[in-house]
């Protein structure tokens, strides 16, 4: 089934859906411009706008449900953004509203959580301003009805991510990580921008509706090029290979940021982009779609391998995020059969990963901001709520039967398997590794001996932090089943992204599913023997070559440094030298040459009046001679 037509809409809650974006934007503006005066109530305002936006989102969702499925794609024109290029409008359809609910819902919970987490930070107001800014930009990203609007949101979330990673900018590592994130993202944006140029040139419009309904039939090459360029953009934002390197560094930001931006929402924007453009530029079996699946599989394995070696709890989770987004990309590349699973996994992942990040934040909060898991251990007793919610998130992610992740990940594996057996088995392998590294994380943190630092006095976090955890863990339990069973989500999403001819049915005991479960169990058991039952050394052992390989992020940074940074620095120095000595040297050389010549020439002015007289006389003679010559010609 093809995606439904996009129709213009006015009136109702959907008509004012711009409020979704405007509310958090207003919050950000007030908090940033208001200065210290808003310090007192800043966090409350931040939460209020996020929650208000969520409420609007729910109302919009409800109105949308009221329409016939074929009329659920509504565009709300706003204003003429760039005359001659594009108008600005919002596209409210099942896909975008799913994101809106995830962003505002999980976003609101994280806002609430941050009240407690950032309570002692002197710049809490600014933090909430940035969070609000992020929510606004992310909503613009998913709601825009054209690629340029999407691009605005795309870079807007990049900015928010930059600001929030570098929130503790007095730490050089945080500042560097923020800059790195922005610049790597810009590389992806480069691809996205050129994709948009190509789209405009090929279709003479950049709106989704316009592209879909355009009569233009660009060549297959153009379409593939657009697809690959969009994929480059998606790789940047979603930390997929080869632009993955920024995500692990991005963990320098405060943990709520990691939860919201670098786990639940922003990093999934790439999946959104691929899904949104899927029907047009990633048709099933096309080169671009195959590239998407390859990138997805490669990243899901890479992320998982990185996750196995990290001792930093946030970095281990970040590796896991990479890996899970790899799953989503894989599904998105599979075509209409995978879109629903990709988005469903994205949503459930948003819940359980946010849950675990916030749980990790809760642990860090309790352990004086210690992130090294080797200095945790045995925390389940002192932090029961955190432990319980974390455990739910853990079970969800490894695909424990009947929890959210079980349904969505299994769906992805099944659809990948149907698409291409190799990809499917690699995805299964990834699931097994997930079982290992997530178990490792849980065992090192909550089980085993206490390996705390002397001054650590862990305690359970306040209610403002635990309640969001509880809500998120509830979502982590039930959401997956709710979405997947009976193809509920696939049907809902169909008007926006299309649907395969044959709806998949859920097989709880398929071969792949059973193998997956077995591998996950094996991974968990291995982790128990190495980290649960055995003593965990406080300092990391040197480890094998493979461990180092994983610890060093698969040498991604080293590769970037060797390939881009060092030649770049060299090139920069060369260019500066060339500019100063070459171009400017030439300019100054000409000036010096003229100066030197005139310095020599002026010696002709001896000051002896007789010399001057002689030259006058000779000149007169020459003139007279010339006159004769000319006169006699």
């Amino acid at each position: 089934m093809e995606p439904a037509k996009i129709i213009e809409h006015s009136g109702g809650v959907i008509g004012v859906s711009w409020l979704l974006i405007a509310l958090p934007l207003l919050g950000a503006a007030v908090l940033l411009l208001g200065g210290r005066k808003t310090d007192r109530f800043g966090h409350l305002l931040g939460v209020a706008t996020a929650v208000a936006s969520f409420v609007v989102g729910v109302l919009v969702f409800l109105q949308l449900l009221g329409f016939d499925p074929a009329e659920r794609r509504r565009t709300v024109p706003l204003y003429d953004f760039i005359p001659g290029l594009t108008k600005m409008g919002l596209l409210v359809d099942p896909l975008s509203i799913s994101f809106v609910l995830l962003i505002t819902g999980v976003g609101s919970l994280i806002h609430i959580y941050s009240i407690g987490y950032m309570a002692h930070d002197p710049n809490r107001r600014r933090f909430f301003a940035y969070l609000n800014l992020f929510v606004a930009a992310m909503l613009l990203l998913v709601l825009a009805d054209n690629y340029i609007g999407l691009y605005v949101g795309w870079e807007g979330v990049g900015l928010a991510s930059y600001l929030l990673i570098g929130f503790w900018q007095h730490k050089p590592s945080a500042a560097t990580a923020a800059k790195k994130a922005f610049i790597v993202n810009r590389v992806g944006d480069f691809g996205l921008a050129i994709a948009i140029f190509t789209i405009f040139t090929a279709f003479n419009t950049v709106s989704f509706a316009g592209v879909m309904e355009s009569g233009a039939h660009p060549s297959q090459g153009t379409l593939t090029a657009i697809g690959l360029l969009l994929l480059l953009g998606a790789c940047g934002k979603s930390a997929q290979l080869p632009l993955q390197s920024w995500l692990l560094d991005a963990m320098e930001g405060p943990t709520p940021v990691s939860a919201l931006i670098h786990a639940a929402t922003m990093v999934t924007a790439g999946v959104y982009l691929v899904t949104r453009s899927g029907a047009m530029f990633f048709p099933e079996g096309s080169t671009a779609a195959i590239a998407v699946t390859i990138v997805g599989v490669a990243t899901l394995l890479a992320g998982a391998i990185i996750g196995t070696a990290k001792d930093d709890i946030k970095k281990a989770l970040a590796g896991s995020t990479m890996s899970q987004i790899g799953y989503m990309m894989l599904a998105a590349g599979v075509g209409p059969a995978g879109y629903a699973f990709a988005i469903a996994h994205l949503i459930t992942h948003g819940f359980f990963k946010a849950d675990m990040f916030l749980g990790a934040g809760s642990v860090m909060h309790a352990m004086n901001d210690e992130v090294d898991m080797r200095k945790y251990g045995g925390l389940r007793k002192v932090m029961p709520i955190t432990f319980a919610t974390f455990l739910i998130g853990y079970l969800a992610i490894i695909g424990f039967p009947l929890l959210s992740g079980y349904f969505t990940k299994d769906g992805i594996i099944e659809s990948a398997m149907e698409h291409n057996a190799t990809l499917g088995w690699l995805a299964v392998l990834g699931a097994g590794i997930t079982g290992f590294y997530m178990s490792r994380l849980v065992f090192m943190t909550f089980f085993g001996q206490k390996r705390w630092e002397a001054d650590a006095h862990p305690h359970e976090s306040p209610a403002v932090m635990t309640w969001p955890l509880i809500i998120l863990s509830v979502g982590s339990i039930f959401l997956g089943g709710f979405l997947i069973l009976g193809n509920r989500f696939m049907t809902f999403l169909a008007p926006a992204v299309g649907r395969p001819e044959h709806l998949p049915s859920f097989h709880p005991f398929s071969v792949a599913g059973l193998v997956t479960l077995a591998l996950v169990a094996a991974g968990a058991a291995l982790a128990w023997f190495k980290y649960g039952a055995a003593e965990v050394p406080v300092t990391a052992p040197r480890g094998s070559f493979l461990t180092t390989f994983a610890r060093r992020d698969l040498y991604g940074d080293a590769l970037n440094e060797a390939l881009f940074m060092r030649p770049g620095q060299w090139l920069t120095r060369l260019a500066v030298f060339f500019d100063n000595r070459g171009i400017d040297g030439l300019v100054n050389g000409i000036a010096a040459g003229i100066g030197g010549t005139s310095g020599r020439l002026r010696r002709v002015q001896t000051g002896f009046v007789r010399s001057y007289a002689l030259s006058i006389f000779v000149g007169a003679a020459i003139l007279v001679g010339a006159w004769f010559v000319v006169g006699n010609l």
Partner: protein
């Protein structure tokens, strides 16, 4: 008959004489601010009456100046000139306010500086409003005089070198243009220097090429286009911040404005012929300027090099010969004036506080002066064309427009977007982030005057980022008109190529 434009030119001139005559520096400053605000109000009042779809040139005034050579004092604005005049008159009061204490260390008195500023304002309005090629040339050259003194008398340690380099470079280009102007007059044989009389008067392609080069080199130096750029970092780094804003923000735009107005309209065939060359220079400038900017250690030089990169975008837009690109380029001229102006001013505030232009002398300023750092970041992000800020719209239009006709150049130019992120954010990181350096520990945040300087700039930067329509509505018709000639030539040459192919 309107007198809008001559009033706009006359008021600052009269004001400058008055300011120079006032004996009290404080009074002089206040008077300058008042006059520049008056000019701003007049310009806005005029702009409101401009009808985008009316005549090409509006508010025209024509007086005979040198009748024997057909030189007129001809004034008039189209959409392109109008937005650039608006840019100038908005920037001047801001610069006046920003330079409040800047001129006190100079070789000459502060009131001279402010009088020069007003003279410069008159020249800037005049150069954009001139509809007579000779008058344009006169303003084009006369602008150098106040700027020369502003750099040479109030600048940094190397001011003499910078001022002379700036003057000689510009003069060299200007003289080439003078030759071309006179040749144009003679060859056209219309007995008039009026732009409207000269358009389309040169049909011979060979002649067009030579005249085009005469004009283009002058504009390329002014703009400045790679490889004629080396005067800009020196001049901008040595000039006082206010003068640097006007230099990079407005004066250099005369170059790109001239390309759009004179090169394209007067010499369409030659423009078509030279397009590949100009595009190569532009793209080289974009990448080269950005790379060299990354390697700078001096804040003001860095900003100057970013401008070289940005001027590459503008010329790329002008010579891509599509409406989107050329409109984007025009809008870019305005936006670049605001964003780079803000960058220069904030850098100036920083330098004023710390007394050093070197990036390495700073660090962690964000901690002690968050507002200063915040505005710096906004201005910087505008410089790297972050969506939602003004430069994005123009840069995107330029790129998308040039991609339509010149995809390869556009793709290379787009890589400048990545480099821009590196040079801006790296500079921001080195100055504002990290542990607070001892030397800046006592640094004060923005004071009231400085807030008033930056608030309008930041407001404009954000407003134009989301709502560029008012400007684009004015620019688009004018740009369409300007590039139509070259488009005809392009189509003709395509047609002939197609015929040969058959």
């Amino acid at each position: 008959m309107h007198y809008w434009l001559s009033t706009l030119i006359g008021v600052p001139v009269v004001g400058a004489i008055g300011v120079a005559a006032v004996k009290n520096d404080q009074r002089a400053k206040q008077a300058t601010l008042g006059i520049s605000l008056l000019v701003l109000a007049l310009a806005v009042a005029m702009a409101v009456q401009f009808s985008p779809n009316g005549d090409k040139f509006q508010f025209t005034e024509t007086y005979n100046w040198v009748p024997s050579f057909g030189v007129h004092f001809g004034l008039g604005v189209d959409g392109i000139a109008l937005v650039l005049i608006l840019l100038s008159v908005v920037l001047v009061p801001i610069v006046v306010l920003a330079s409040w204490h800047e001129a006190e260390k100079g070789k000459r008195s502060a009131r001279t500086y402010f009088a020069l500023l007003l003279v410069l304002e008159a020249m800037m309005i005049g150069v954009f409003a001139a509809t007579d090629v000779f008058l344009f040339y006169v303003f084009f050259e006369a602008m150098l005089i106040p700027m020369y003194f502003m750099i040479g008398s109030y600048g940094g340690a190397q001011r003499s070198y910078a001022a002379v380099k700036f003057l000689l470079y510009s003069l060299f280009g200007g003289l080439l243009m003078l030759v071309a102007v006179i040749a144009l007059y003679t060859i056209a044989g219309k007995g008039s220097f009026m732009f409207s009389d000269l358009v389309g008067s040169i049909q011979d392609v060979g002649t067009q090429k030579w005249l085009f080069l005469g004009f283009f080199i002058a504009f390329a130096i002014k703009a400045p286009l790679w490889p004629f750029h080396t005067w800009l970092p020196d001049a901008a780094a040595q000039a006082p911040a206010g003068a640097a804003v006007l230099l990079v923000g407005v004066l250099d735009k005369v170059g790109t404005y001239g390309m759009l107005r004179f090169c394209l309209e007067l010499f369409p065939d030659a423009s078509h012929y030279f397009t590949p060359l100009v595009l190569v220079l532009s793209v080289v400038g974009i990448v080269y300027g950005a790379i060299v900017a990354i390697g700078q250690t001096d804040m003001k030089r860095l900003i100057a090099y970013t401008s070289i990169s940005h001027f590459g975008f503008i010329t790329l837009g002008v010579f891509a010969i599509t409406v989107n690109a050329a409109s984007g380029a025009t809008l870019y001229m305005v936006n670049h004036g605001f964003s780079t102006g803000a960058l220069f001013l904030i850098a100036g505030f920083l330098i004023h506080r710390r007394g050093s232009q070197y990036i390495s002398d700073y660090g962690g300023v964000q901690k002690v002066a968050p507002l200063l750092a915040g505005t710096f970041l906004v201005a910087g992000l505008s410089g790297l064309a972050l969506p939602g800020l003004n430069s994005f719209v123009s840069e995107f239009m330029v790129l998308i427009g040039s991609y339509e006709t010149q995809p390869v150049y556009a793709i290379i130019a787009t890589s400048g977007v990545v480099l821009a992120a590196i040079y801006i954010l790296w500079m921001y990181q080195r100055t504002m982030n990290g542990p607070t350096a001892d030397s800046v520990r006592e640094m004060k945040d923005l004071n009231g005057r400085e807030k008033w300087v930056l608030a309008p700039l930041i407001a404009v930067i954000i407003a134009l980022g989301f709502f560029p329509k008012p400007l684009l509505d004015v620019i688009n018709p004018a740009v369409k008109d300007s590039i139509s000639q070259v488009q005809h030539v392009q189509e003709a040459s395509k047609a002939s190529v197609a015929q040969e192919g058959q």
